[in-house]
């Protein structure tokens, strides 16, 4: 992996800082900062999934469950027990960590499609629990009137404030994941992906590292769930159903699994596609959505993050002198 460019991160930060002001001026972009909040929240999950799927080479079709655990921990903790939102956020993350450990240790021994099915099963089981334990979770109607967050006495209840808050968290997590991937642990993740036998021979405890990547991604998903409920002030089970898990995987594949940038790009792309850009097609929306995904898979198998390489390739093809 190329070193994550710190300069790129700064440019991203500057662009994000200017974004809401730009959206105000440019006609038609008025709702974009609002949508970007959700894209940011999803980015937190996709970065974790990128570490798990793209770098450590495992798969999870159950991450909606961890999003849900975080979301419900925050929702129940604040709305039902009147606990501090920040405390609930941490409790949710801890709970996710424990669940991820418990489920990850036996599950990550499985490979390929078996692992996919096992995580899928886990996700569905958690969903059913959210749906059925009406006394705690409110059942299918969910929980509403969940309080918002405040930071240093400042209420984060406007689009602007939450936009900056969420994207600051995204950048911090990006920095964290980038550091991690460039450390011995990140190299171990990638080694496990590259060749399990070679990784073992290098003294890497592969099951422990798989579980670590799984737990990290679970905690990030849980964090995203907490941030989600404190903004939308509502949670119901169908927000964290199986299709959300699949959507998360679609996000990272569309963005490009081998890159943290891809994780963010994919989250932004899919969030805008399904919440803004395809609305013009009305009833046709689902059809077009499927078609767009298919086109990206066919023409950009490395996702959006592979696009610069692709363009270079296309440009290169025009030049003479290449061996034919």
């Amino acid at each position: 992996m190329k070193k994550i460019s710190r300069k790129g991160l700064l440019i991203l930060a500057a662009g994000l800082a200017a974004f809401p002001w730009l959206a105000k001026v440019v006609p038609g972009l008025g709702s974009y900062p609002e949508v970007m909040i959700y894209a940011g929240i999803y980015s937190l999950i996709t970065m974790g999934l990128s570490v798990l799927v793209g770098f450590a080479g495992q798969i999870s079709l159950g991450h909606a469950a961890f999003f849900g655990i975080g979301a419900y921990a925050s929702a129940v903790g604040t709305a039902t027990y009147n606990l501090d939102p920040w405390l609930c956020l941490i409790l949710g993350a801890l709970l996710s960590l424990l669940v991820a450990l418990a489920i990850g240790v036996p599950t990550l021994k499985l490979k390929g499609h078996y692992l996919a099915m096992a995580t899928l099963a886990f996700g569905i089981i958690v969903f059913i629990i959210f749906n059925e334990e009406v006394d705690i979770t409110g059942g299918p109607d969910g929980l509403s009137r969940i309080p918002g967050l405040s930071l240093f006495g400042l209420k984060l209840n406007t689009t602007m404030s939450y936009f900056y808050f969420v994207w600051t968290v995204v950048l911090l997590v990006f920095w964290f994941c980038a550091n991690l991937l460039e450390s011995r642990i990140g190299r171990a993740f990638r080694a496990v992906h590259g060749s399990e036998v070679a990784a073992m021979a290098m003294g890497i405890n592969i099951s422990s590292h798989k579980v670590q990547a799984f737990v990290l991604s679970a905690v990030l998903a849980s964090l995203a769930g907490s941030l989600y409920v404190h903004y939308i002030n509502f949670i119901n089970p169908s927000t964290c159903n199986l299709f959300f898990s699949v959507k998360l995987i679609i996000m990272i594949v569309m963005g490009g699994t081998h890159s943290l940038w891809g994780a963010i790009l994919g989250a932004v792309l899919i969030t805008f596609l399904s919440n803004v850009w395809l609305h013009a097609f009305q009833e046709w929306e689902v059809l077009i959505y499927g078609a767009v995904l298919l086109i990206i898979v066919i023409f950009l198998p490395d996702g959006l993050a592979g696009l610069p390489e692709k363009i270079k390739g296309w440009a290169g093809r025009g030049q003479p002198g290449k061996a034919s």
């Binding site: 994941c177 011995r184 642990i185 190299r187 590259g194 060749s195 073992m200 890497i204 081998h258």
Partner: protein, 258 residues
């Protein structure tokens, strides 16, 4: 000199009904090059897999520096000091040359996930030490100028050498080389032979599986010959070259040759 770094006793491995290894016994003295030869399918790679803990043996024992390796996971065996390379190159293809070697330092370094993500000063120090060590090894094997390239883009010969560097990065007492000369040309093979001697110079014992006879005969202190999972001979290169069973099974009969 005569201290045994590795002792293999009664080693047997069955895959289903197939006997991959039957009652194989030998020892490796510290500080030597010991080679294992035999036709393809004779059980050489299986033996490496047993020594490094990829599979458990069906029967028999393997002792390293007097300690039994029974039931140890491969990563534990690696951190005890046995390293290896692979017959079909098993590099981490989309990592750089340098990073591949840095992975080798994994079991000789510490640092938690949290610390790594936060890039604490201790992590920076560890990373610096790992990078320095890896660079030193790349210089040792002569791949320093390719440090930043993706490992998969190296020619096969360099990939084999890179695997050795990566193996050395685990700071082993014994390194098992699985056909390191496979696919190398004559000149590269000669360089490899020099490299193996240099590895000995670092105090690392070498266990070598190889088909390239000039290399094996030239560098080995002792040779074990396997055929159909059984040891059919053991001795110095000269003894082996003249052993009629070995000639029949492996080197090829020369009955009507001049």
């Amino acid at each position: 000199m005569s201290q045994m770094i590795l002792e293999v006793k009664g080693l047997t491995k069955r895959f289903g009904g197939l006997m991959a290894l039957t009652e194989v016994e030998f020892g490796v003295q510290a500080g030597v090059v010991k080679s294992v030869i035999g036709p393809n399918g004779a059980g050489k790679t299986t033996m490496f897999n047993l020594i490094t803990g990829i599979f458990p043996p069906t029967e028999g024992s393997i002792n390293f520096r007097g300690q039994s390796l029974h039931g140890l996971a491969p990563h534990r065996i690696a951190s005890l000091g046995i390293s290896r390379t692979f017959q079909t190159v098993e590099l981490f293809g989309d990592m750089s040359v340098l990073e591949n070697v840095m992975v080798g330092q994994h079991c000789r370094s510490r640092g938690s996930l949290l610390a790594a993500g936060l890039r604490l000063p201790s992590v920076r120090r560890t990373e610096k030490a790992i990078t320095d060590k890896a660079m030193e090894l790349l210089e040792f094997v002569g791949l320093a100028e390719h440090a930043g390239e993706p490992a998969a883009s190296l020619p096969l010969g360099d990939q084999k050498v890179l695997e050795i560097a990566r193996g050395l990065a685990t700071e082993p007492g014994l390194i098992c080389l699985d056909e390191p000369a496979g696919g190398l040309n004559e000149q590269e093979t000669q360089e490899l032979s020099r490299l193996i001697r240099a590895i000995l110079g670092r105090g690392v014992t070498v266990l070598l599986v190889e088909h390239d006879m000039p290399l094996v005969m030239g560098i080995s202190d002792e040779i074990v010959v396997l055929n159909f999972g059984q040891k059919i001979a053991e001795g110095t290169p000269r003894q082996i070259q003249q052993d009629p069973t070995v000639i029949a099974a492996y080197l090829g009969e020369e009955e009507d040759d001049a």
